[in-house]
């Protein structure tokens, strides 16, 4: 770019200094102007100036306008390209941002689903533990009640056994003293009569 600028500057300097290289031609034009005064003096000087002007225009067009135009076009193209690239990058960034947003939303939805699932599981576990605790408590109560009933029953049986045992022990002692030989004979006779019938 810098080299291109130097080349253009060099060509421009050449074009400007061209009239200076032909001083005779300029002086001749100036002398002709002094020969015929009027509103419009169509002499050689004007022609020469016109030619010089055209040459200058040609030189400027050749060495200044075209490179400058080309440079400006290239620069505009570069800017356009940069703008397109920037637009593409912006679009890509937008797409990426959109994708990120979608991904974040998906992640948030997934997190929400996981949180809901976890809450449901926690609730289910809580219900299960609650039910198990109630069942265990009911079972414990039932077992305790059954044990109490069994203990009560055993205690009653024990008491009854003791009472009956004491009563019958007393009865045995009484029988041992009260049974006479006649009673023994009567028992023996009754046994002989009943033998084979009841046993």
């Amino acid at each position: 770019m810098r080299r291109l600028g130097m080349v253009h500057r060099r060509r421009l300097a050449g074009a400007v200094t061209l009239p200076l290289l032909f001083p005779g031609l300029a002086l001749a034009a100036e002398a002709a102007a002094h020969e015929q005064p009027g509103i419009i003096n169509l002499n050689i000087t004007i022609l020469i100036q016109a030619v010089n002007f055209l040459i200058l225009i040609a030189l400027l067009s050749r060495f200044l306008f075209k490179p400058l135009t080309q440079f400006l076009r290239q620069r505009a193209d570069g800017i356009q390209k940069a703008l397109r690239e920037a637009q593409a990058a912006r679009e890509a960034a937008g797409k990426a941002q959109e994708a990120y947003r979608a991904q974040i939303q998906a992640t948030q939805r997934e997190l929400a689903a996981i949180r809901d699932q976890a809450q449901r599981e926690v609730e289910a576990e809580r219900q299960r533990l609650l039910t198990a605790s109630r069942e265990a408590a009911q079972r414990l109560v039932a077992e305790a009640r059954a044990e109490i009933e069994a203990e009560t029953k055993r205690a009653k049986i024990t008491l009854r056994e003791e009472a009956v045992g004491l009563s019958l022990a007393a009865a045995e002692r009484l029988l041992g003293r009260a049974l006479t030989s006649e009673d023994q004979k009567r028992l023996a006779e009754q046994y002989i009569r009943d033998l084979g019938g009841t046993n």
């Binding site: 009854r160 009956v164 045992g165 019958l168 045995e172 029988l175 041992g176 049974l179 009673d183 023994q184």
Partner: protein, 180 residues
Amino acid sequence: MTAGSVAKRYARALAEVAAASGELEPVRQDLQSFNALLRDNRDLRQFLANPSVLKTDRVEVVGQIVGRMGLRPLSGTFLRILAEAGRLTGLETILRTFEGLLDERLGRVKAVVTTAVPLDAAAQARLMARLTAVTGKQAYLEIRQDPAILGGLITQIGSQVFDGSLRTRLARLRDELVRA
């Protein structure tokens, strides 16, 4: 070989020999007497059961006891055989088996009767007649006295028991009262 099968072999052999010589009942009485002596005499039991006692000493002691008790030669010989074989500790079982074989041969049955007080002869006769009618075989009694049964009788024939004791009646009453 179990003690029961050994006792059965000895009892069967003795029954055959005693039957051949017509001494079944006398031999039974002899064995019963000797068994009662053994049952009542702990020292004699321990001496005969002691494995450190020489066989000859054991046989000699048994021979002397047999002589003093005046047992029949067949009974004495049998007891000496048992002493020599070290089988006197099983005499009770042998005797019970022999009695069973004897009863089979004679068509009779033994009734072990337990009473609280002694049973007079008339009651024994009536009981024997009643047992004969019940079992269909000639019954004979072995009376045992046990005041613990309080009153009434218990009769055992083989594995069959006719229990009419006051003790058992009271026990039944106890069970009924406890269950009620």
